[in-house]
Amino acid sequence: MAAVTLLSTLNLSKRFGGLQAVDGVDFTFLEGEIRALIGPNGAGKTTFVNLLSGRIPPTEGRIVFAGEDVTRLPAHARVNRGIAYTFQITSIFAAMSALENVKLSAQRRLSKGVFGPDPELLERVAMSALERVGLADRHGEIAGNLSYGHQRLLEVALGLGLEPKLLILDEPTQGLTDQEIGVFVDLVREIARQASVLLIEHNMDVVMGLADSITVLDRGRILAQGAPDEIRRDEAVRRAYLGA
């Protein structure tokens, strides 16, 4: 695939009072890649993706997505442009069925005017998102009653229902069993055939196995960037993060 820039940031900064959480980050993200964002706790990873998704406004800097300056767009408008965010702490509609959850994520895209989408089409699209994450047979279950691992998968299905250009996954494997992680890695690889994936992850096996490239953040700045092997060999990264 030709290297087309999907997203870039210029001098992106966020200050919380005396804390410079994100400090002048220039970041470029290519279409079609799986990028992992790693760094020690408090490095500003979640703040950084919150800036990208528009959940918080930056103090300084610009964000360009698919050729458009989205710095001032509210979060919901960025979702409509194709930036989907899945929450670090599972955030689903606990009282609704799994299917209703995914319908919510797909219906806005499928709606024409105020009358909403064709119910059969919506059902089909929602079911196919559930199938992709392997929850099709649990579509009628109340989301809050699903196991933790399944809730994480439902969270991803909500992202898929949006058919995003860029899917941001914030620590998706946190709290999952090894077996569930295996399922997850395969899923992300499958998703990446249609969408670009930006992944915040602590599990190094997942990062090394999945990512095409890695960006290391430390104290709000980019410490290193490159292919997994380069990052593994990088002296500064080892000192700051890998602890070797």
């Binding site: 959940r55 509210p74 919901h76 989907a84 509609f93 609704m96 219906q107 709606s111 909403g116 949006l162």
Partner: protein, 316 residues
């Protein structure tokens, strides 16, 4: 299964409207008037249910929307000789406009702040009525002349017409509630109630959806207010007081939030609780209070809400 579920709900609603239609022929005069009153007030409760029950907006100021309709209709009747046709339309517009204006400001807040802001706006509206006492006659209120209380040539002073108009308004409110509850918009409103931030991150403009819910709620409240004025002939500041902001909340909670017929059940029960208990004792509010406590203990989600939870999940 889906179509069966929809049909069950439609059948239930049509059945309820049918029963109310039939009741007018058998009810004694006293209850005949009461039921007409309850149906109009239930329209107000259903309006409140759109914003509170379906969308999760706990407003403490809905009396201002009811009163906006009541006074828009009443004042235009009193000073411009407008009849019920014009009055009802004016009532809807007044309720809608008030809700949009208040919503644009109040919806910048959420939770407790939203409660306080709506409460304050409602108090301001209440006091405005007194400020213009020359026209509104404040607390004392005024009567809409019976000559003007006609709809398409039928006199609303006639109990039979009054009942039918109240029933029509009620049926319209049921249709609107049912339509919203079953629509894709209703699904988004429920999503906002459950998890606002998640809904935003699915690409929905949460503010606009909340404003739309409040606008529909305000328009329905205004319609109920205008109808109340024309059907019962009296316009007074009591209807703008805090009491009339709390009533719809109580009615909806008793009947079941986010159910279509719950607000009616709640309004009916509360109305007769007050009515019957006051026949026996002057401490009637004590009995009402005890009944409310009992209801919360045994029907924590309201009458229809609890029935839906335990026995009839298809209940709309």
């Amino acid at each position: 299964m889906r179509s069966l579920r929809v049909n069950k709900a439609v059948t239930l609603h049509l059945g309820a409207i049918g029963v109310l239609f039939a009741l007018q022929f058998v009810l004694p005069d006293y209850h005949h008037v009461n039921l007409a009153r309850v149906m109009v007030l239930a329209g107000f409760a259903m309006a409140y249910n759109i914003s509170f029950g379906y969308t999760g907006l706990l407003s403490l100021g809905h009396a201002m929307f009811f009163a906006a309709g009541l006074y828009a209709a009443g004042l235009m009747a009193r000073f411009a000789g407008v009849g019920a046709e014009g009055g009802l339309i004016l009532g809807v517009i007044a309720g809608l406009a008030m809700a949009v204006a208040v919503g644009l400001l109040a919806l910048r807040t959420t939770g407790v702040s939203f409660m306080i802001v709506t409460l304050m706006f409602a108090q301001a509206a209440f006091l405005t009525i007194f400020y213009f006492g020359e026209y509104t006659r404040g607390d004392e209120g005024f009567i809409i002349p019976s000559g003007l209380r006609t709809l398409f040539g039928f006199s609303l002073v006639e109990p039979a017409t009054r009942y039918l108009v109240a029933l029509s308004l009620f049926a319209l409110c049921v249709a609107v509630s049912h339509g919203i509850a079953r629509s894709s918009v209703g699904r988004v409103l429920a999503a906002i109630r459950e998890n606002e931030e998640r809904t935003r991150m699915l690409g929905y403009n949460v503010f606009l959806y909340k404003l739309a819910a409040l606008a529909i709620s305000g328009a329905m409240s205004g319609a109920a207010g205008a109808a109340y004025g024309f059907l019962f002939g009296y316009v007074g500041a009591t209807f703008a007081s805090i009491q009339y902001s709390i009533f719809p909340l109580l009615w909806v909670l008793m009947g079941g939030a986010a159910t279509v017929l719950g607000p009616f059940a709640g309004t009916l029960l509360m109305f007769y609780l007050v009515d019957i208990s006051s026949a026996y004792t002057s401490a009637n509010m004590l009995i009402v209070g005890l009944a409310l406590i009992g209801l919360i203990l045994f029907f924590p989600k309201g009458i229809l809400g609890t029935i839906r939870e335990r026995a009839a999940p298809w209940l709309p």
